[in-house]
């Protein structure tokens, strides 16, 4: 153990540790969903931190591995009373320990912050463990590269290549092999459960590739080549099995809907959110009650509104309507109201089928005006790009007063959702 501590002091791991925490923490914080404390999101953010800390860990591991080559001390390892692989194992274990500690520090801080405000769920330990295995793979790949090519440029080249590979892979998210990468960024939903088979496949893949790389290094450095070849064959088989499982999942990070009990409030309408978003329930209830008064007497009025994610395949319960909400960042109430109006066909989305014609005729602008009133008090300023005539229409609409606008909407609702409102509709009613 004393030798291990000596190695820790000699290696640049003490310098690299804080850097690893910094890089891993930077992207983790960036991936946290604003305003929320959701374990699933926290776990996802911690795992995505490998995108930055993985390449750095690979570079540091390669640096440690090149030390013997640049100091020409291979004879010490070969002639030592200890096994020929003892020193490489010691070096690798130190870098791995530093990378692991940095990963744990970031995970502990993020999960601790989440625990302070979480209203639902628990940490996804399996996913976090798979993220750690991916980081381990970066370390092993860097170390083996440094051992096999002990040049001054090997560590930076390793770090650069690892990052470029991860960044390039981000753009390949539709490819079946996308999730084989050790550095992916996933946006996950609390409405579905994680794909356990995918995690198992990734774990096998990472372990298999790391094992195969170590076996290659052992064959090159150690005396027992037959054992190394056997280990290489076994690990390759493991990696192939893992890759087959991952590819067979067709990039499904999440699978079936998860069962939970909605947190609900209000009466007209009853507004229900996922328990992980319970902090946002009261503002949403007030906003939807206000909207309900504006929509009274139209088919868009709802008795129950349920939160779902943006996946259209998820359906609300019978008799309920839906809105999508992914975070509680400032403006989330407006975002939820906007999504509800979109799904009710009120606003510019109702004009999508008209295409260019809708823009030329001004129907999109008129639909926008209606939506702007429904989303706030109706006192918004005219949009800068509107024409003088459109500004005059908006001012007329504002002067109608709240009751006048509600009556206006009741009379024209079928035409609003069909995107058939014209300029004439803003002049016919008396202010």
């Amino acid at each position: 153990m004393r030798v291990w501590w000596l190695e820790l002091r000699r290696s640049p791991a003490l310098l690299g540790g804080p850097l690893l925490v910094l890089l891993h923490g930077a992207i983790t914080v960036h991936q946290l969903s604003p305003g929320t404390s959701i374990y699933l999101n926290s776990s996802s953010a911690v795992v995505s931190g490998d995108l930055l800390s993985g390449p750095l860990a690979a570079g540091l591991a390669a640096w440690v591995a090149t030390r013997e080559g640049r100091r020409h001390t291979a004879y010490l390892r070969v002639t030592s009373a200890r096994g020929e692989l003892a020193q490489p194992a010691l070096e690798l274990s130190v870098v791995l320990a530093v990378a692991t500690v940095s990963y744990l520090v970031v995970a502990a801080v993020v999960l601790g912050r989440t625990a302070a405000g979480a209203t639902w769920g628990q940490p996804h330990w399996a996913w976090l463990a798979v993220g750690w295995m991916a980081l381990t793979l970066f370390v092993v790949a860097g170390y083996v590269a440094g051992r096999l090519v002990p040049r001054a440029w090997t560590p930076p080249a390793m770090m650069l290549c690892a990052y470029l590979a991860g960044a390039w892979n981000l753009a390949q998210y539709r490819r079946p092999w996308y999730l084989l990468s050790g550095a992916t960024v996933e946006v996950v939903s609390v409405f579905r459960r994680l794909n356990g088979e995918l995690l198992a496949g990734q774990a096998l893949w990472y372990a298999g590739v790391a094992g195969a790389l170590l076996a290659v290094a052992a064959i090159m450095l150690g005396p027992r080549r037959r054992l190394g070849v056997t280990a290489l064959a076994g690990c390759t088989a493991l990696a192939v099995a893992g890759a087959a499982i991952v590819i067979g999942q067709h990039n499904r990070v999440q699978t079936s809907p998860v069962s939970f009990r909605y947190a609900c409030a209000g009466t007209a309408p009853v507004v229900c959110v996922h328990p992980a978003y319970a902090k946002g329930l009261q503002p949403l209830t007030a906003a939807f009650a206000d909207l309900d008064r504006k929509l009274a007497g139209t088919p868009a009025g709802a008795t129950r509104i349920e939160q779902l994610d943006s996946d259209a395949r998820l359906r609300p319960s019978a008799g309920a309507q839906r809105f999508a909400l992914d975070n509680l960042a400032p403006g989330y109430v407006q975002a939820a109201i906007g999504d509800f109006l979109d799904s009710a066909g009120i606003g510019p989305t109702a004009c999508i089928d008209l295409g260019e014609q809708g823009v030329r005729s001004g129907a999109v602008i008129y639909a926008y005006m209606v939506r702007a009133w429904l989303m706030d008090s109706g006192t918004s300023q005219p949009v800068a790009v509107w024409t003088t005539q459109q500004r005059a229409m908006w001012n007329w609409f504002v002067r109608l007063g709240e009751e006048g606008r509600r009556a206006w909407l009741r009379d024209r609702f079928p035409r609003v959702v069909a995107c058939q409102i014209t300029a004439a509709d803003f002049r016919t009613a008396a202010p």
Binding site: P55, R70, P156
Partner: protein, 199 residues
């Protein structure tokens, strides 16, 4: 003349210049390819602007002395030699990057290319002086990948992500220039090397 020849050979200056040329050739192949942080991103950063990191590392590695202890006790001052050496390897890097980035369209162009090549070179040289000669890649690569992944060229905040800012971002250029001046001044005294590791 004999001293110059020995200096060039000991620092692998010719190899460094060739590596810089190869990196610029890679930049020509990369062309206008862009990195987008995610599928919904409305902006992308040309990979070409990240390439000067590799040139900078090649430059800094060539500035290392193979016999640092001897250098430090030498009667002949080596600061001027290092300065000329630096110019010989940096100028091709600057010229190549500026030429390549001038072919970019949109908000990125020759100014961003020049900013990144001098900024990354300065940061690499600082890293070689402050951390260690062989670890000169640590700061520029770390900074570069964080800026590429998390930076926002449209941000009005402090330009910590200067490598991805647009051409017209004055603050980003100033940050790069500060790194360049500090790095080039510091490296005239030699890179930091571990004691008794003259190899």
């Amino acid at each position: 003349m004999n001293g110059l020849r020995l200096y060039l050979r000991s620092r692998h200056v010719i190899i460094a210049v060739v590596v810089v040329a190869v990196i610029n050739l890679a930049g020509w192949i990369i062309g206008r390819a862009e990195f987008r942080p995610n599928e919904d991103s409305v902006w992308g950063v040309p990979w070409l602007l990240f390439l000067p990191v590799a040139s900078a590392v090649a430059v800094a590695l060539s500035l290392r002395s193979p016999s640092d202890t001897l250098d430090r006790v030498a009667a002949r001052p080596l600061a001027a030699w290092r300065g000329v050496h630096l110019l010989v390897v940096v100028i091709p890097s600057i010229v190549g990057t500026v030429l390549l980035s001038s072919l970019l369209s949109g908000p990125y162009g020759a100014v961003a290319g020049l900013r990144n090549v001098v900024g990354f070179t300065g940061l690499t040289l600082l890293s070689a002086v402050v951390i260690e000669g062989r670890l000169c890649w640590l700061a520029p690569l770390g900074w570069g990948i964080v800026a590429m992944t998390l930076g926002d060229p449209r941000s009005g905040m402090v330009p910590w992500d200067w490598p991805v800012r647009y051409d017209d971002d004055f603050g980003a250029f100033v940050v790069a220039l500060v790194f360049a001046v500090a790095g080039m001044a510091a490296v005239l005294l030699g890179t930091r090397e571990p004691r008794h590791e003259d190899q």
